[in-house]
């Protein structure tokens, strides 16, 4: 069964899904977050897909079932808890277990390889973490595209390589990249062409993979998975801006970052809200920042101009 998934809240430990990275086909919806709209459009239009898995974590993802209700495809929506208490972990764990059963019913087979999958995921994430540590020496765009390419493959076919490009970036301004899933990877290219070297990020696809490790030593397997998804990399939809900002600031200071770039999808309120206190904290530390918003389905208006002006001001 081929499932399209949206967001790192979908547990890879249970079943292979194709992670949504972008869509070039006909669109069905003209409003709100282009990323979610494109996801819906692909699920509706792509005949090779049997269904979709996605969270209820922001307003755009919340209303996805309203558009998919009429289809005959399988879909499952995870209600992502708005906090990280033990009860929230248990609540999320029960959904993961329920999701497993829903898939088993659909495919008519028992899923019995969760522990093995956890092991593979941990190994892959360790490799992502190692690749991330080499960012100073490699192209960030290549790093990000490598992650995206892997998320499109079945778990057992994923391979992470450390991609040294052999370039020296010493003279460049050091940038920390913040934002939602960056399907428009050209942004990284534009930044680097303007002399801005991305040395760290908190993007979901990068942050979640490199930080998420699932305990393999036992206990309730669903709660272990739930805990690893909910606690290792916080999304702004999990209502802890304070922790997100403090975690990032620590890395920003350690890496002696010169400036921060916020790259978000238009109408992505979670990141739009996060930007307000985030920017204030950066201002207190004298670190400049800029926000780039993508229009639906791809690029940002005047991206090169914005980046050029910002690069000069840093």
């Amino acid at each position: 069964m081929k499932l399209l998934s949206l967001s790192g809240f979908v547990p890879e430990q249970i079943y292979d899904t194709v992670r949504f990275t972008g869509y070039q086909g006909e669109r069905n919806i003209q409003h709100y977050c282009g990323y979610a709209n494109d996801f819906i459009s692909q699920v509706l239009n792509d005949k090779s897909l049997d269904g979709a898995v996605f969270p209820k974590s922001c307003d755009s993802s919340r209303i996805i079932p309203s558009y998919l209700d009429g289809t005959n495809k399988f879909f499952y929506q995870f209600l992502v808890p708005s906090h990280n208490s033990e009860d929230a972990v248990r609540f999320f764990a029960k959904q993961i277990e329920d999701y497993k059963h829903a898939i088993e019913r659909k495919i008519g087979e028992e899923i019995d390889d969760i522990e093995e999958r956890i092991h593979i995921i941990n190994k892959r994430n360790k490799a992502v973490s190692e690749a991330y540590m080499e960012l100073e020496e490699c192209s960030y765009k290549m790093y990000l595209e490598m992650i995206h390419a892997n998320l499109n493959k079945p778990l057992r076919e994923q391979t992470i390589e450390i991609l040294s490009c052999g370039k020296t970036y010493e003279t460049r301004k050091r940038i920390f990249l913040v934002g939602s899933f960056l399907h428009y990877t050209e942004v990284a290219d534009v930044l680097e062409k303007n002399g801005l070297k991305i040395v760290g990020d908190n993007l979901p696809e990068s942050g979640r993979l490199r930080r998420m490790f699932t305990d393999e030593t036992g206990g309730n397997i669903y709660e272990t998975i739930a805990d690893s998804i909910l606690s290792h990399k916080l999304s702004p939809t999990q209502n802890n801006f304070e922790k997100i900002i403090q975690t990032d600031l620590k890395e920003i200071e350690t890496k002696k970052v010169d400036a921060v770039v916020f790259a978000t999808q238009n109408y992505c309120e979670a990141y739009d809200f996060l930007y307000v206190p985030y920017r204030k904290e950066l201002e207190k530390r004298g670190i400049p920042s800029v926000k780039i918003s993508f229009t639906n389905h791809g690029g940002a208006n005047n991206l090169s101009l914005i980046v050029e002006a910002f690069a000069e001001s840093v």
Partner: protein, 379 residues
């Protein structure tokens, strides 16, 4: 001696806004202050003697006073994107300007938001928490899910936690009997309001009145005076003549236009008569249950915007059917994605209009007029 409708309304409003102007002059309330979102279980706060204010509601007041644009500009200058919910932009602006039509919202000692209407509010409340450095509680209501026992237990623990935090904050202990009485008041308010809005179908009542007067159900639903007020309104409506005219019965799907003097496009709808609106039913919460916690769960987990599309479609169709509306004005609200999809699969002709509930510059009025004209032709 009981008060008149006008005096009751004045009393409820005065009680609610008592501290706004005082706070602007530097006087703080003696009681602890919570800022809450529109579907927070305020009965718990009321029973623990916490003052609670609704920023969303105040944003509507700001728009009605014509000041929302300056608030938007102020918040945008402070890097809050105008793509965000306009309630949040408006309140952010008013906090920065320290100014509003009735004074300032007294600063909160605690922030309480829920996700039973949207997922925007928790994000906005996080911005407020960073600003005020006070505790933030986000109540997570799963809505309709298969495993209802799991949902109930999950909500129950959160309600316990809320009580515990508020007890520590106020030094007061929860009296369950009092909480039950307060929930009774809310239930009575809802029951009386249902009767009030039922008269919109048969009597000559302007929707403006109901769009404005639902405010008491939002901000004062657990006060005893609210059901008293609504019952008196029912008596007054009962005495009115029945409507008997040729205007087309139309259903208003979505928010009122808070910036508009009539809260709806009265000038464009001369040939229509608004006979119903789903907005005025949103706070018709179901407080049934065996104990206080079950009552609160039923009321706040199953709010209209927290229901599945299927259930919402059924509810909306029933609502429209009751009013006998021949058509609908369907509003696509830039600020409310969740309501945006409320009106899918209606069985009556409709004019779809893009709008924002408080940003008067958002609607393309010519386009709206064209849509309404097309609707007339279709009918």
């Amino acid at each position: 001696m009981s008060l008149s409708i006008g005096k009751l309304k004045t009393k409820l409003m005065r009680d609610y806004y008592k501290y706004f102007s005082k706070y602007s002059k530097g006087e703080k309330p003696e009681r602890k202050v919570a800022w809450v979102s529109s579907f927070a279980p305020v009965e718990i706060l009321e029973s623990l003697d916490v003052l609670y204010y609704y920023p969303e509601s105040y944003a509507a007041v700001i728009a009605a006073s014509g000041k929302e644009q300056e608030m938007f500009e102020e918040s945008n200058r402070n890097f809050l994107s105008l793509d965000c919910c306009s309630y949040s932009c408006c309140i952010e602006g008013s906090i920065l300007q320290m100014n509003g039509p009735r004074g300032e919202l007294p600063a909160p000692d605690i922030l309480i938001a829920t996700n039973n209407q949207c997922n925007t509010l928790p994000g906005w409340w996080n911005v407020l928490a960073q600003k005020y450095h006070v505790p933030l509680i986000i109540l997570d209501y799963p809505g309709e899910i298969e495993n209802e026992k799991m949902a109930y237990e999950y909500v129950l623990v959160q309600h316990y936690n809320l009580i515990s935090v508020l007890q520590k904050l106020t030094g007061n202990m929860l009296d369950v009997t009092l909480l039950n009485e307060i929930i009774d008041y809310s239930e009575k308010s809802v029951s009386a309001w249902k009767k009030v809005i039922s008269y919109l179908v048969s009597k000559e009542i302007k929707p403006t009145l109901l769009f404005d007067d639902i405010n008491y159900l939002i901000t004062a639903r657990c006060k005893s005076e609210t059901s008293e007020l609504y019952n008196m309104m029912c008596e007054e409506f009962f005495e009115k003549e029945d409507v008997n005219d040729e205007r087309i019965p139309v259903f208003w799907v979505g928010y009122p236009l808070w910036y508009h003097p009539q809260r709806y496009l009265e000038e464009e709808l001369a040939e229509f008569r608004v006979v119903g609106s789903n907005y005025i039913t949103w706070w018709n919460l179901n407080y049934q249950g065996e104990d206080v916690f079950e009552r609160l769960y039923n009321a706040y987990n199953f709010t209209f915007l927290n229901l599945s599309q299927k259930t919402r479609n059924i509810r909306l169709r029933e609502c429209i059917k009751y009013t006998g509306a021949a058509c609908a004005i369907v509003l696509h609200n830039k600020s409310c994605k969740c309501d945006f999809v409320s009106a899918r699969d209606l069985d009556i002709p409709q004019a779809e209009i893009d709008m924002d509930m408080i940003d008067r510059n958002y609607m393309d009025i010519k386009k709206a007029q064209k849509q309404i004209q097309l609707l007339k032709e279709m009918l």
